[in-house]
Amino acid sequence: MNRYFSLITAAVITLLFIGCAKDNMEPNKDTNDALKIAEGYAIGAGVQVQLYAAAPLTTGYNFVSIALTDSVSGQSIEEAAITLMPMMDMGTMKHSAPVENPASKASNKRFNGALVFTMPSGSMGSWAVEVTVTVNGRQGKATLPVAITEPRQNKLKSFVSKVDNKKYWLALVQPTAPKVGVNDLELAIYEAKGMMAFPADSSLAVAVTPEMPTMGHGSPNNIDPVHTGKGHYKGKVNFTMTGLWYLNLNFKKGDAVADNATFFEVNF
């Protein structure tokens, strides 16, 4: 009898609770300031520089934000020209990495930008971010040492174009929290012009083909990413179940295939 009572009670309770959707537990992607990464002084500008990110910095694309404080008055600075320059010191040589410099106006007292680290720090060398600040005509540079780790899943790839032998860095920006369903797909692509210059690319045609390698199937109705600005290519990728997925990428320059061997792993 008890089984029935519990069954009926369960049925009634279930009915009562139809429609009570769970709270959305997704992290807020816009929070680039959850974690203070480093701070220092831009001597010459008279400004304290603080570097924030949503999470510890890793190889690949990192949203960051900069907070500037007048070191005399202690007031937050809302307008400044900021140039970011990550620098890898490998002893015998130095190289930089792609960046997105913030706009000159702060939003919520933060200047939002991005850093694309191309390798982890460690025995090979160490990273520092040089932040050059110009406030009211006064310029100064803060050098902030940062530790870069390898993320659980690789978010950065590179390839050399078969068309013109140019080297490209390829950063996976989205999805950061992959789910079964339709996901935003965002790639940031930079050309590696020597050791210090990484201009954003807008010249490639990108096609994406998701694949579940253990089962050998893909997913339907994906939207190939197209360039939207600053080297960012946006599209949609669909996952029909959880598990390990490959995002197979194909790059073309004009009609010629620049690369078709690069893929990202997405595992969730």
Binding site: L7, I8, G216
Partner: protein
């Protein structure tokens, strides 16, 4: 061997249990195939067939359904055969248990509601073809309502019951059931239990068919309380647990399947403010189903597929007379169903692959219906039925919505309003010949699987199926003519029907999609096709040349095609069952012959294979012995005596049916 011992043990036990009085004939059974209340002659034919076939106490609910000409069974294994009416598919037929809606929890339809009904619980079966079915629900193919046996009250308080046990040789199956009733003038209690344990069966070539075994228990408790004159309250609880159920025609078996079904019914049987009879029921049920493939050899990747369905609902109906020869029946019903099914695949060393195969969804349905009967003169009767049904679907989880967004779902409304109307005229043309003609229009909302199914692999045509949230309702238009001729020794009935189903829902190959299931041939998406045409007929003859001798023969044929003239899948071929039964006092003997023509009209779109003709011969016998208050019944027989190796056209896979089977069943009632 073990089950044979158990069988013998049970025989002994039943003998000991046999202590007291009364016969064990279950309550009255009826089949209403065309609901013609006044035309008792026509109804009599179907009732006659039903009674005739249930005289074999060893027959299961499915055995009986297989012999009713209007019904066919879709078979994926020896358990859970899916009853359909004519050539309509199971989504088009409303299958009700005592008026209750129960939604299967299996995405592959391995748990039709009929599995919860054991012969010991079955009071009667109402099969209504299109025209008259709209009273109980919206469907384009008709309705099957299996009525539960109920507790009864009796002026002298008494205890009665029965027990039976049986054995089938082909599947080394052992069945056992019992029921006990306690009745007083105020209240009645009834409890039943059934246990079935079937091994893998042997087919006509002598081979055991792997994964055709099953085991289950079913138990019910019924209470009845008289409230005042003519009014009573019923409480019915049913539990059914099946496990280790093999489906040889499918790539997966069932680890467990269980159902919990409960209802409270108020019945007013004598007149109340002009109403002849009124009934209202509140019910709730839950079905859990768990497919697994752990017992299958060489599975590339293990997976399991659990599903759960919860339904609660109510209906109220009442009948009243509106003067001489006029009758009005009203019914209102509503139900809410919540469904969820998922699939998890396991690859060692990797995270589990999980997806929703039926994304969490709920279906709310409500309808009002009325039926008006008018007897114009002693020979003519008109019946008009109407119904308006509203069905609304919604996805209830963000995960489910996200998943279907892959196929373009963007929060659209999925509501369906379905009007239905049917008119039937019956007329006695000659004293022994009666004709009945009906015209009807009905419809149905798409099923949850057709709307939301997510890469559901269909072994029948080897395709992954994708639901379509933009489906429209199906609309059926049907005409049916029944002639019945009755004389002292002969009862003959023939029906012909033609049905046009607009927006017929059918899986269409979607070349833009790639398969999910390894080995699948392609992906199909449910679409509304322009229309399908289903036609056919059934006939039956009952001939009683002498008292004690009865010849019963039924025949059916169906034809179904889509809008391009191509055959629809799963259409039963021409089929005849003839039986001759002879009674000798307490003993009866019966010879039975089943003939089925080949079915070569197959659906190429569904990769359907053709099926050869076959003929089967069965011999059955029954014997009754009354010892004081104790009634013994012995049923035994040999099915498929010639050990034919055959499959029926509605059987999935290339799986043969059982070969020669010797069965025996002993029942004792008191």
């Amino acid at each position: 061997m073990k089950s044979l011992y158990a069988f013998i043990g049970c025989l002994l036990l039943t003998g000991i249990a046999a202590a007291q009085e009364k016969d064990l004939t279950d309550s009255v059974r009826t089949v209403l195939l065309q609901e013609v209340t006044v035309a008792a002659q026509q109804r009599g034919q179907q009732q006659h067939l039903y009674r005739y076939f249930t005289a074999n106490k060893a027959a299961t609910t499915e055995d009986i359904m297989a012999r009713i000409p209007e019904l066919s069974l879709v078979r994926r294994g020896s358990y859970g055969m899916e009853p359909i009416i004519r050539s309509f598919n199971s989504n088009q037929v409303a299958l009700l248990l005592d008026g209750m809606r129960i939604h299967g929890a299996c995405t592959d339809k391995m748990d039709p509601t009929s599995i919860y009904i054991e012969p010991v619980n079955l009071n009667s079966m109402e099969v209504r073809t299109n025209g008259s079915s709209l009273l109980v629900g919206s469907s384009v193919g008709g309705s099957i309502n299996m009525k539960l046996a109920e507790a009864s009250c009796h002026d002298e308080g008494r205890f009665s019951g029965s027990a039976s046990t049986g054995y089938h040789s082909a599947s080394r199956a052992f069945f056992s059931s019992a029921n006990f009733n306690y009745a007083t003038s105020r209240f009645g209690l009834r409890a039943t239990g059934t246990y079935r344990n079937s091994g893998a069966y042997r087919d006509g070539s002598g081979q055991r068919v792997p994964f055709s075994q099953y085991e289950k228990v079913n138990y019910t408790l019924h209470g009845k309380l008289k409230l005042n004159d003519g009014a009573y309250l019923r409480v019915d609880l049913l539990a059914d647990d099946g496990w280790n159920i093999g489906y040889p025609a499918l790539p997966m078996d069932v680890g467990y399947a269980n159902a919990r079904i409960g209802s409270v019914t108020f019945v007013q049987e004598s007149g109340w403010r002009g109403w002849e009879r009124a009934e209202a029921k509140l019910y709730a049920n839950r079905v859990k189903h768990y497919m697994d493939d752990t017992k299958r050899p060489a599975v590339p990747m293990h997976m399991d597929m659990p599903g759960v369905s919860r339904t609660s609902g109510m209906y109220a109906e009442a009948v009243r007379s509106l003067g001489v020869g006029q009758k009005l029946q009203l019914r209102a019903d509503a139900s809410a169903t919540m469904l969820k099914a998922s699939m998890t695949m396991y690859q060692p060393g990797q995270p589990d692959m999980y997806m929703l195969t039926w994304p969490d969804n709920r279906q709310v349905q409500g309808g009002v219906a009325a039926q008006y009967q008018l007897r114009i003169d002693s020979a003519t009767q008109v019946q008009v039925s109407g119904r308006v049904d509203v069905t609304d679907y919604a996805l209830t989880s963000q995960g489910g919505k996200d998943q279907l967004a892959v196929f373009g779902y963007s929060g659209e409304q999925m509501g369906f309003v379905i009007p239905a109307l049917s008119v039937q005229v019956s007329r006695k043309l000659f004293p022994s010949l009666k004709a009945s003609f009906s015209l009807g229009m009905n419809g149905r909302a798409p099923s949850a699987g057709e709307l939301f199914g997510f890469y559901l692999f269909n072994q029948f045509d080897g395709h992954d199926y994708i639901g379509n949230t933009k489906l429209r309702k199906e609309i059926g238009q049907q005409a049916e003519l029944t002639l019945s001729w009755q004389q002292q020794k002969w009862k003959v009935q023939a029906s012909g029907y033609i049905s046009k189903v607009r927006h017929y829902i059918f899986g269409k190959i979607n070349p833009g999609l790639s398969v999910m299931t390894p080995g699948a041939r392609g992906v199909k998406t449910y679409e509304n096709t322009a229309q399908a045409l289903l036609a056919g007929g059934e006939g039956s003859v009952v001939y009683q040349p002498f008292s004690g001798t009865q010849l019963v023969s039924t025949l059916k044929y169906a034809h179904a095609q889509d809008n391009t003239g191509n055959p629809l899948p799963l259409i039963a071929p021409l089929r005849n069952i003839s039986t001759l039964r002879q009674h000798f006092n307490a003993l009866w003997l019966q010879a039975e012959m089943e003939l089925a023509a080949a079915q070569r009209r197959v659906s190429v779109a569904a990769n359907e294979r053709s099926t050869g003709a076959f003929s089967l011969v069965h011999l059955r016998a029954g014997y009754q012995l009354q010892q004081g208050r104790v009634l013994w019944q012995l049923n035994a027989g040999v099915e498929n005596i010639l050990d034919a190796y055959y499959r029926e056209h509605l059987d999935w896979g290339n799986i043969a049916r059982p070969g020669r089977n010797v069965y025996m069943q002993v029942s004792v009632g008191f």
